[in-house]
Symmetry: C2
Subunit: 566 residues, 2 copies
């Protein structure tokens, strides 16, 4: 099984779909010229194809295990990680002051996309570190930054996020971990955390945990939570990882997928930690990390969709069954339909993720409020639609394989299992949708309407070249506008009840827009044919979704728990 990075698609997206030229045009990202970006992506692609992709099955067949309290990682993962770290791929966007490349999040996202597609379980490790770097850059003291960031950026040390506790999942405010001041500026952190991805590993010198805990005077709920940096090994005077801290991995979860990524139960037993940000202000710092992570997780969906699509294509081009012009099952219309769906939806999800990355970059580079609002608005959509697409596309990929898809040796099922968690972690997709219809519509729909204006203006301009496609995209945008207006006029319970179909409807329309951009850029090429497939056959799903989204809460909540019981 071989993975090939879709470099041409990235080039098309950057140049013609998500408007990366605006990013490259800022002072902050002036170094991100087309040539530089291309060279970087080509280099990362080579590493992913040659080093990471061959490790993907290892992670599944030889899962990470806990031996004498230490994680032993899957065969080859240490070498794979070294290639990631040595290439500088842990933290492409990190501040050059601390050794980063200072490149846009858009470039990070594409590099992540390739790393996920080639080996999602291993890549989850640097993805966690990326979030930690961003949180420290924004909220840590200079002393902490000087000590930790250079180690994290090079990948010598790894970072983790410790939020969840058994009684505190989606409701982070329910957590009970404690932090007591030691009197010397440090804190003693005590508590149990669960679902900690890569809570330990055997290939970095140190593992640095960002832990949410409550100070003695912290009020109940999210307003009494603070963030602490708790390293596995406490750095000594030279900055080298010194004595072991009072924390341990208690156990690893036995999961549906992602076997190569150890999901740890962590126990902090008076572990020494340093406050990050202000007291009782931990949620804000955590959100810096989580927003970044939400884009990253959306990209996990996209990358998996790419891997699954390539695998299904490989099989479809090889498997002979029935009589077709092509000689293989790719000649059957229904197989073609499945593959086209995979390709078209992967493109849609990827465009949304990268247009979020562009909005983040523009917001960071210019401080412009509109870009900031756009980034905020697109975050839940990129996370939820990216991961739902990863799940759906992986499932279609399995289907393309027929009976062989159900056999584990084939490898198609691994994509289905690995990606399944992405609609759950970093805020379930239900939470993303509630964020969209709640916080992200608090501006009265301004950020949404600005996007729709842009879509409709573009569709108007495309009418000459693609009259039918332009009209369909324009209509879908108008339908979405009316639905958005209806939601904005309603109270929160009414919005929450239809949040998920609304989010998906929004994503469908955005996908239509980005496909139309691609078609306009390449009107006689594959891109236009795939765009036509998406816009005429997949985009119409928005009609049903938006009908659902206009229904409100009353009829739903009238269904009592008893009504749902046997």
């Amino acid at each position: 099984m071989s993975y090939r990075a879709p470099l041409d698609e990235y080039r098309l997206l950057l140049n013609h779909v998500v408007g990366f030229d605006a990013v490259a045009g800022t002072d902050k990202f002036a170094d991100a010229t087309p040539e530089t970006v291309d060279a970087i992506l080509t280099e990362a692609a080579k590493m992913c194809e040659e080093v990471l992709a061959p490790l993907n099955r290892n992670g599944d067949l030889d899962p990470a295990v806990l031996e004498n309290g230490k994680v032993r990682s899957s065969k080859g993962f240490a070498e794979g990680y070294k290639a990631v770290a040595d290439g500088g791929w842990v933290a492409v966007s990190a501040d050059p002051e601390y050794g980063g490349m200072g490149l846009p999040m858009t470039v990070t996202s594409i590099v992540n996309d390739m790393m996920v597609a080639s080996c999602m379980a291993l890549h989850l490790n640097p993805l966690m570190t990326q979030g930690q770097i961003e949180a420290l850059e924004h909220h840590a003291s200079d002393a902490i930054k000087d000590l930790y960031l250079p180690k994290l950026v090079t990948g010598e040390w790894a970072g983790t996020m410790n939020l969840t506790e058994p009684q505190a999942g989606s409701d982070v405010g329910a957590l009970s971990s404690k932090a007591e001041p030691n009197g010397d500026g440090t804190y003693s952190v005590t508590g149990q955390k669960i679902f900690i991805s890569w809570g330990d590993n055997d290939f970095t010198e140190n593992v640095c945990h960002l832990v949410l805990a409550r100070l003695p005077d912290g009020v109940p709920g999210t307003k009494g939570i603070s963030l602490f940096l708790v390293p596995r090994n406490i750095p000594d005077e030279t900055g080298a990882p010194g004595t072991a801290n009072s924390l341990k991995v208690v156990s690893l979860e036995h999961k549906l997928g992602l076997h190569g990524s150890p999901t740890c139960v962590m126990a902090f037993e008076g572990a020494k930690g340093w406050l990050i940000g202000k007291e009782n202000d931990g949620m804000r710092a955590m959100f810096t990390m989580m927003n970044n992570a939400r884009l990253g997780v959306g990209v996990q969906g996209v990358g998996t969709a790419e891997g699954a699509t390539q695998k299904a294509m490989e099989y479809a081009l090889e498997r002979k069954q029935g009589h077709t012009q092509e000689g293989t099952i790719i000649g059957h219309a229904d197989v073609r339909r499945m593959l086209a769906t995979m390709k078209a939806d992967t493109f849609a999800a990827r465009s949304i993720a990268l247009s979020l990355a562009v909005a983040i970059d523009m917001s960071n580079a210019t401080g412009d409020a509109e870009w900031k609002a756009r980034a905020a608005f697109l975050t839940p959509i990129a996370k939820a639609f990216g991961t739902d697409t990863g799940i759906d596309v992986a499932n279609i990929g399995l289907q393309v394989h027929g009976g062989m898809g159900f056999v584990e040796e084939t490898g198609a099922a691994q994509y289905v299992r690995d990606v399944r968690v992405t609609s759950i972690y970093e805020g379930t997709n239900g939470i993303q949708a509630m964020d969209l219809v709640g916080r992200k519509l608090m501006d009265g729909g301004e950020a949404a309407y600005r996007l729709l204006d842009e879509i409709e203006a573009f569709a108007e301009g495309a009418r000459t070249t693609f009259p039918e496609l332009a009209e369909l995209v324009w209509q879908s945008s108008e339908n979405l506008r009316e639905t958005t207006e209806a939601l904005v006029a309603r109270d929160m319970p009414d919005r929450f009840a239809v949040a998920v179909p609304f989010l998906r409807g929004f994503a469908r329309v955005l996908g239509g827009y980005f496909h139309l951009c691609a078609a306009m850029a390449k009107p006689d090429r594959a891109e236009a044919r795939i765009a036509r497939f998406y816009i005429t056959r997949l985009l119409p799903e928005h009609v049903g979704l938006l009908a659902h989204a206009r229904e409100g809460a009353a009829d739903l909540m009238a269904i009592s728990p008893d009504d749902l019981a046997v």
Copy 2:
């Protein structure tokens, strides 16, 4: 984890939705009075709840293995199977002449539904036997029937289906297994078969294989295929399983799910077999078995959806997270939406499956051509929509569990893994859809239009009670009628390209109809509230599906394999 058979829902379906009174009104099924059927279902429910459900996790954790060429089944499966056989649940519909209960397929389907929900992996064994019994009843000689049927009906012996070979999956006609006449009326069967569910077990005295193979003068393709009965042990003069036949289990597949069901590679090495039906007419006999099996597999989807829904409900009523009126996550609107979707779609898929069973029963009881056509028409829809619903509902169930859903100990992931094969085996869902738009529309749409007439007449009658719901169902039926007319007017390539969205659109509309029936029967009860949810929020999906279904083949096939490559 406890399973409760949804007996009230079965009663509602029989009495008010799928028209079982017509079946009970025939001479053939005069014994199937409401009281008898209720007593039988209650008894089967007890066995499923008490005996089978506790075995479900065993099948996953302690998979069937091959030891010295013999299958060793999962812990407890032998005892579970004994309860199934002793209760007479292997073959509820088998001919009383051979020891069966002679009850309608509708009753068999409900009993299967309960057995699947409680332990799908074990139930797959009697499901295979059911198909074999039906094939033998229709096509075997009296001598074969007298010898085999009594043993199969009691469950003393088990049956299997041997179609697939490595190069012959969906294209059965490509098979290369051979049968040579021995000169004594028996045949020597040689070849390798793959994906043979329950190809062996350690709890029946004999295992009887129905094997497709080619006689020396058999032409290539499906027209040269004959069907043979090849027992593992050759019955002696007394009818007891005698000496071992020349066949063996070569290996078991390592699968995504259904670990309790051994999926065998079988080698037949000059094994002694008996011709079933006429020479070169094996496909017809096989289709008897496969049509039965297609309903059975659709019901596997329904049963799994039921099991997954009950599991998710249990979790949602227990898990505290955030502040809700109910105190648990069932108070969150999005969780309610997920559970309502599971409940409503399970009901829709179950209604379709049972209305197919009723059509089969009416066709068998009356010989009426319209009932026969309806059974033929509904078969691919019940199979594909039933299994797609099983897959979707199991996935939503996992999502309801949040992070715990990804942890195997929870059990939610097992439903996702187990049910995944159902959209592939017994004819992939793509093949079902092609059957629907091909063979099943060869009547010019007559069977389809008769269904739509029935839906619209019912919707008209429901307008006074449920004006909005009746109108939505009526509209959806009209949309479907227009789409069907468009398809009937087109050639096969145009139909095949859109077969899958057309089938799903058809199922969505049928689901709306059956929900409306339920609402009319219980206008102030849970059924009406769930029907409203389905009709206003899920049924609208048909709009997008039917738009896709009107697109034809040209734009799709214009996307070349190169267009889909990286």
